[in-house]
Symmetry: D3
Subunit: 318 residues, 6 copies
């Protein structure tokens, strides 16, 4: 080994120290100017923690399905299960309370701290009281998945394996939080589902019972979508917005109704793209890869051929 | 701070206790009625554990590729590698045996417990004896990926980086278990691959050697699909079912052959959708976004234009 | 329990030992022949570790956004933040240096060991010096996401929730490493982003500031793609290659320019497929599901209808 | 670097592999001959696990003192505490059951497996039913420590800080298990206390309420010792055996009464050594460093001077 | 397996559930009556956490000796060390602040909450400002150990190996906290040292520089002991109280000066017991196993023979 | 809450930042001057890691007693045990090699780096080759413990429970390393045993087979002690040095023979103190609390009375 390289081997970081000082200073300046731009210099808010939410969701799933999703499920049977559910619920709600408090504090700024506590507590309690309802809806979803997939061998397989079940479970929990005003936490939960399933459901979307998504990768369901009972979707279905209207200053108008309404008993096959505040009538079937930007009456069957014909007439596709 | 809010700060859970009692009771009642509906009240089965399977797959990958995927690979060289492989295989098989036993017990109910042990042992052993064959197949897959992707710089890059390799590795392991009757575990392994790669291959699908999926997100390969040697797929390709036939009572008929047969040396470009028990003849090329529901002879080249023309004639797309 | 099954219960692994010996031997032989085929028998290289890279990326994200992505962000405020950033940067760079050294050593073989150290050090330092620039670009991306999505309620929500932000953050870091010659590490980072977001950006792709991908699942951006300023993409957009030219021996030609150039201020809607070394002129809008293999001039608006018409004329789609 | 040393640097384990083979073989042979010597070759028993017992003791302490020793005590208040206690008790008893089963199986050999289950279950249940009694005794011990130590500022300090409290807590739990026949587990628990406090109480020793050991390092209390109510010991006190009688074959006679009886309200100061089946009468005070091998009547005060005088007469000290 | 035992095997916890309910209820009643007895029913205080203190001590030791005791010391050199020290100090002080707040809140009851924050902050700051002084004292202790032990080969060995150094490090930190009013935390730290070294130094004891304890097991140094410069102790030395005076009600008088004063340059050999508020004059040597209850002038050499003679005259030993 | 305290609650660390800067600077200056004093400023050495040694000892114990001390012992039986032993030995030796290299490098300074590698490798290999011998000695120790303690119920209990077995196991391993020149690591291992058992054996002490220490707390065995076959000790026995001779400069002479020689078949009861380079003749019995500074012939029985008489004549005890 040559003298010079030997030295590097011994101290591969010689000189690195002062460089680090420089980078730390540059990054610090960027941070300050970024906070300054948003008038946040005095109090950069603490945000809810993705990692904490992962733990909270594990807890909630264990509470909802202790026999099947509880981490330590082999360790007890009948007798201890209520202790397990009660204890897990207890500590999970306290953790959720902390996260809700962070979000409310972030939104309100520090002055609202006392009010935040009261409100965070109310949100947590009301959320907790909705859990049995969520369980009932999820039972209907699991049943729908079992009945709708010829490859499903058992209810248990559905619960343990299907990404569509994970996505709807997270969505139903996120939706309750979104309704109660914890929008950021709700969105973070949606994205946890998105990351592990490829299914992207905005927490504000309204989804009826007995809902089933098969395969699921690439599904996108937008903020103002409304989905009825017993609806079935396949992978890569989009329920999206057609246009993003802007106000007089050219800024996006946020929150207006811009996604489809899907009525009861609709089936939408893989790759279909449905855009805008249109209505898919009850009992309709939308074929694979269909591109649809107009409402269809109840009982419709839409194929690519029909859709394309329409598309050509419209010059649509944006 | 006002008196009242101060109190909340001190005891953010006052009153929460009795509410928890209520929720625990409601959830318990739902659990009972759900088990009751499936005649499972007496013995809610213990299911195989997703978390345990993650550990088992890490072990199997380390056994198959100890130099490259073994977690602690830097800690030894030639001498110790067989001890590492043998020890890892030993404990991994024992863990797998436990999971297989759980699945068999769940399927059989408790009465079959003794038989389960014998059968679980047989499944585990036969699975183990297939590992060298699986390794050989995976070597052919890695080679195919290296040769098929202009962006691949080395065999090592392919093994370490490519999601398609992860997906086919998991699939080949899951497929062996599926063949041996551990259907649920096999499916859970498929979904682990699906979650981390966006590639969804049903464990029953039959896949020949030198198989390569590039990018991969959104690929779906159905339960009864049969894929030959040297087939190459790109992202968002679906090998799906066209229809789900029902029996005289309106229930789905499960398990019948309903997915495509893809013969040797076929290439299917991104977004192509191939549905039904059709055959793609050897050496064919299916273009991107093609929608195909009819068999094509060997050596075919199918483009969107051709496919669409056909689609219009058929009124297909469901 | 019958005698025989009882025995299995007691020793579920009787006989397993010698079977393991066999499997270990078979796998060992396969390993040797695989290394032999690549002239690697003498020195199977140690590869960079995916697990180590996960830790390095956590460290880099904490350094770039300590208030929002630092793991322990609640534990300090202004005073300690520079210590946190400096310390995290220090240990993260040392870990990165180790990984770079592994990659360089793998590429060079052992003879280059001393040179590797010098070069690995240079790569690490130059990478570090680029971090402030990366932060500035990411600030522009976050701003673009906030302005481009009507569902985004705050800058914080964008940073914490949006998979598109994760993907571009990882890409910008990977791209710097790729430029400096750490191609494998760069690719591994890309695949970490791909696995958690479904967005697949090759680290060599060049991406301008204020870049935004919404939803993102299924997006693929190829190795030689060039993207300008203020470009916006939606889910399932492909910027791919149209053909893979081979040399006179039938081997793929690697590395040539084969992916699109997307100029400033272009918007590409969901599912659009853009293939080949074509140019999308500045300010153009490409509609959803469009299939495009020809350049379009600045300011174009391309819909499915137009694209299909063209496709039919071309017989394209491969 | 010289060629030769460079080689070592590259492969510091060359040749190590075959050496390991040799050592593994030698150790294997020693193992076999050691098992053979004890007729254990066919079934080397699985022993209870020290690590598992550490977890069980944490659980039991949390159940006994949930407010003060529960690991996560900050996470709940009144409402959830019974869920916490019930859940912790439930899983802790199941873990204990496993360990008891291992011990009983080890003692009985494999043939007794079925009986072991029944007996292990009975032991666990009876142990559980003793927990409230143990708590009452420990409350008296804590009170005694607070009253007996001028340095103790609060009951809480005593519970959280005093090694004597740890030792007696572990002893009282171990003693119950010892009484029920789980001798090995009991002994392992004693040694856990010994390791962390330096206080060595044999689990068979009988200890009355309101017992206090101050400082404690070096205290040894033998197997057949009997200690009354309100006894106080200081560091390095030994309640030991004077002689170890052997049978006609020269083997130690095991289990006979050979340690002191200490009646109610006795105080024994640091370093005192009390040997043999003698009785220290109620209310006596034994001075520091006293060496005592004869019974003393109630109300005695024994100093070194008196003890030494006696010792010289006896020529004792063995 | 017989029917009956088989059932146990299947459900080893049948009936356990209702038993658990009973035990939980009994333990709950005991808890309430215990809190009631101490008027703590309304607000059982949260105590400082032993586990948190372990982490805090690791942090403080890393700050004091980053080169030698920092957990990750191999990961940086000169450049990063101040970032490491600063960051570790920052988060360690915040954790300490939390523990101090808990102790102050426990002592004060809830009404003092606001004051607690202010005071806890002051305690933490003043403690931090003492760290350089503590480091200087510890340097003198390490030097003394190296010079005083013929078996010590290097300063490094002393720092890394000697339990006496661990004990004095913990003591000097605990002593600062004790002086500032965090008595319980200080005591908990003492007991952490006691548990790992067998050396029991009350945090209120005053210990001068260049202090060395060799071997150490069984050393006890009482609350009001005062130790000068350059004192050396061996294992099992006690600096204790001779009597525990009681007040007119028979209760112990707490806190009065009752332990020895050991002047500069004294050596006390193994097993010596020194009791009461006596003074060991500067430069004295106390022999092994000596029992001493009277002051000795500077420069004394006390042997067992002399001490025993005195003891016989006094009839001491209590 | 008052304005002022509220502020503290919000920012309990205001002002702390600059204080931390100060403390970091002061500690840094102390570090530099301390290194400077020892001419270590240029290269503060990296020391072996206590934490790493804990892992290495776990590994070695698992290798020596895989059935009984292997962490995962329940996971395999006959077949896999050699893989387990070989794999554990392999990775444990590599970790040990790293630690030895650190110690040798620390002793030699950086110039010796290449030589260190060669020597560290030699030390590790020679150590490994001694493991079967160590196992044989430990088998004799365990047998001795079982035969020597009337409370021991089984060989297994002895291995799993007895602190004396832990101490001698660690000692025998440390002694081999000490003999091979890894003095610091050896000492660190001794102190690990000391911390968990209260038994302090210097790694250089020579200990024959069938050695048993009962209870053990407070036992000290010095650097140059020599112990024969079948020796038995009880708690608080000291085999120490009588005097520490200094050279002409007043510095301690290090390393000379200054501790007792204990011949075969000696029993030494609790609390006995044996000092200086004296010889306890074979087959002797030393009574409890005896203070002995003169050699005794084989077959002696020494009681306190005899010893004291001698002590008075000598005026010994220092």
């Amino acid at each position: 080994m040559h003298e010079k390289t030997k030295e590097f081997a011994k101290a591969p970081d010689a000189g690195l120290a002062s460089e680090i000082d420089l980078i730390v200073a540059e990054l610090g300046a960027l941070r300050v100017s970024s906070l300054d731009a948003r008038n946040r210099l005095d109090n950069p808010p603490r945000l809810p923690s993705r990692k904490a939410l992962v733990g909270i969701l594990d807890g909630l799933c264990a509470v909802l399905f202790p026999n099947r999703l509880g981490l330590a499920l082999s360790e007890f049977t009948d007798g201890g299960i209520d202790y397990f559910v009660g204890h897990t619920l207890d500590i999970t709600l306290r953790k959720l309370f902390e996260q809700v408090r962070l979000e409310l504090g972030m939104v309100a700024g520090d002055d609202g701290k006392d009010t935040d506590l009261v409100q965070a507590k109310a949100v947590t309690r009301q959320f907790a009281s909705r859990l049995p309802t969520v369980r009932k809806l999820l039972d209907s979803d699991i049943e729908a998945a079992y009945e709708g997939d010829p490859a499903a061998r058992s209810i248990d397989e559905v619960l343990v394996c299907y990404p569509g079940i994970t996505a709807i479970t997270y969505h139903r929990l996120a939706h309750e939080l979104d309704r109660l005003g914890a929008h950021l936490i709700a969105r973070m939960i949606s994205e946890l589902a998105h990351a592990s399933t490829g299914i992207d459901i905005h927490p504000s979307a309204q989804v009826g019972g007995s809902f089933f998504i098969d395969h699921g990768t690439g599904v996108v369901i937008g903020e103002t979508a409304i989905i009825g009972q017993r609806v079935r979707l396949y992978q890569a279905v989009t329920l999206g917005a057609k246009r993003f209207p802007v106000d007089e200053n050219g800024n996006l108008i946020k929150g207006n109704a811009r996604h489809p309404i899907v009525e009861d008993d609709v089936v939408i096959y893989a790759g279909a793209t449905i855009l805008g505040r249109i209505t898919i009538g009850a009992g309709s079937t939308i074929g694979g890869n269909v591109w649809l930007t107009r409402s269809v009456p109840p009982g419709s069957t839409i194929t690519q051929a029909q859709a394309h014909a329409q598309t050509f007439l419209d010059g649509a596709g944006i």
